[in-house]
Amino acid sequence: MPDHSPGAGVRVRDLTKRFGSAARPAVDAVSLDVRPGEFMTFLGPSGSGKTTTLNMIAGLEGVTGGEIRIGDRDVAALPAHRRDLGVVFQQYALFPHMTAAQNVAFPLRRRKLPKAEIAERVARTLDLVRLGDHADRLPRKLSGGQQQRVALARAIVFDPRVLLMDEPLGALDKKLREQLQIEIARLHRELGVTVIFVTHDQEEALALSDRIAVFNEGRIEQVGTASDLYERPATRFVAAFLGDSNAFEGTLSGGRLAGDGLDLRAPATDLPDGSRAALIVRPERLRLSGAPGSGDNAVSADVTDIVYQGAFRKVLIRFGNGGAGCVREAIGALSDIAPGDRVTVHWSPDHAVLVPA
């Protein structure tokens, strides 16, 4: 491999962005550490502040308050063109009047590299994204996936220490997306560059990331690995945004969660007695049994519908208190139930998580 500089860490402290006189800041005191070489994904619904945060790191958006450090440098005073970050834009932003090769050469020209070296690096990078034989095409003569690869090549050709990607696959169809996801993962591995990747697609986030930061309403709800977020969500928002979940709400008291006709055993928690909380259990962690009943780790429910999904089936249920939920069963281990049956769902205490309500 060529002499790529290893990725740099990105450290963000109390980063805030307020647009005009908007009541709520678009980004509200966000703090985050991205480790050198890490693949970090910003995941969240649209308007949650993830793209604005990315743009502030890139220097494309002014900062209302807070600090950004890349490697050991405070970049607050550095304009975008001197930050040395690769950015891949949502709609690629290829220069329409330049060929693929000229687009890729653009950042090298700005850095006044010798002609021969520019040619060599452009060719090498286009090969890296498998576009070696499309170098002289204008962007409009390339397919969406090819344009995406040119944008990628252009962002990495100057060996940036951090690569920022803003929903880079948003405009592509599903098959192409999956193909490019694999390719982005490969490039990340080969280049050792730090990647910050923005998406609203949870599957994409789960497939690519070392860690994920979940954004909501301008704040980070939780940062963690895919399994952290899935198995140990810190908030109801994270539990609801990533996959399906069953939630039981109540008031904490002496290691129990009571309310709405339920009295459940609460998992260990830092939440004080008397606070409102919700007990979260993922659908595949629930077990069904025919006899009705309830207990420390069980509630009764009515089966409303059963939906088959390949290797799994999803049993939709309604709890005694009226709340809706679902159970996921592997096809090999089906219980003998039908819509309309009254059942008991129960779980192991290890699989329940308590979050603030």
Partner: protein, 260 residues
């Protein structure tokens, strides 16, 4: 109905007073005609440059402001299309007169007493006002098509803002620049009313010279020869613009509907 008079004019230019190219030889040799032609070309360049200088930022602002403000700016640009040229020219006579509002404003800014009425400066100011819409509209239509992410992209790739503008934004708006400048240049060449009413007779443009030859001395030979010379220059300029854009788009009127 358009062809016949043009043909007749061409015919007269080579037959009056006698058959031959004498009239054209006169245009190219007699000092007055040449001086006037050079003066007209110089005025054309100045007016075009002034229009480009002011229209480019204006058109750019049109692309970045919120829709409501854009509607206001668009209306302002279209305003001269339906307000009478005579009314506006008369207004400039008032505005630029000695001791008039523009004089006062310039004096207040400490620029002193500039003679505007009857001067090339005055004619430039008034002509640029007439021509600005023809520059703004093609510029706006090419700027509107530029992807807003391109300049940020260039910055992220290490281009200084000035380089991002020169290498990325400007080249992409060049068709609009070409269309606008050519259009304004061609229209300025044949401009009659404004220089006739605001300029000094001693500094007349080619259109005035043609009018004088024909109206006062009924010399259709010389007038025709001057006209055809003017026409050739104008068509050559238009030929240039046709290589960049559709003629309709150049006139800034073709896709009025989808602009809103």
């Amino acid at each position: 109905m358009f062809v016949v008079p043009m043909a007749r004019l061409a015919w007269l230019s080579v037959t009056t007073p006698e058959t031959g190219l004498a009239n054209y030889r006169d245009v190219l040799t007699d000092g007055v005609s040449l001086t006037v032609i050079w003066r007209t070309l110089r005025m054309m360049l100045v007016v075009t440059a002034v229009c480009l200088l002011f229209a480019y930022p204006y058109a750019y602002v049109m692309t970045v402001v919120p829709p409501r403000t854009r509607a206001v700016l668009t209306t302002i640009v279209l305003l001269p299309f339906w307000t009478s040229l005579m009314a506006r020219t008369f207004a400039w006579v008032v505005l630029l007169q000695k001791g008039g509002p523009v004089n006062d404003a310039l004096a207040a800014l400490g620029l002193g007493d500039v003679r505007l009425a009857g001067s090339a400066t005055g004619v430039t100011i008034a002509m640029a006002q007439v021509m600005l819409p023809f520059m703004v509209l093609p510029l706006y239509s090419s700027m509107r098509d530029v992807d807003r992410a391109l300049v940020p992209a260039a910055l992220s790739l290490g281009a200084r803002p000035a380089v991002a503008f020169l290498r990325v934004y400007l080249p992409l708006t060049l068709p609009g620049v070409a269309a606008g400048t050519t259009l304004v240049a061609v229209l300025s060449l044949g401009f009659y009313v404004t220089p006739a009413l605001l300029g000094s007779p001693k500094e007349s443009m080619i259109a005035q010279l043609i009018a004088v030859k024909v109206q006062d001395v009924l010399d259709f030979g010389a007038g025709g020869a001057l006209s055809l010379t003017l026409l050739v220059v104008a068509l050559a300029l238009l030929g240039l613009v046709a290589r960049f854009v559709r003629p309709g788009a150049a006139l800034g009127m073709s896709d009025e509907g989808d602009r809103r």
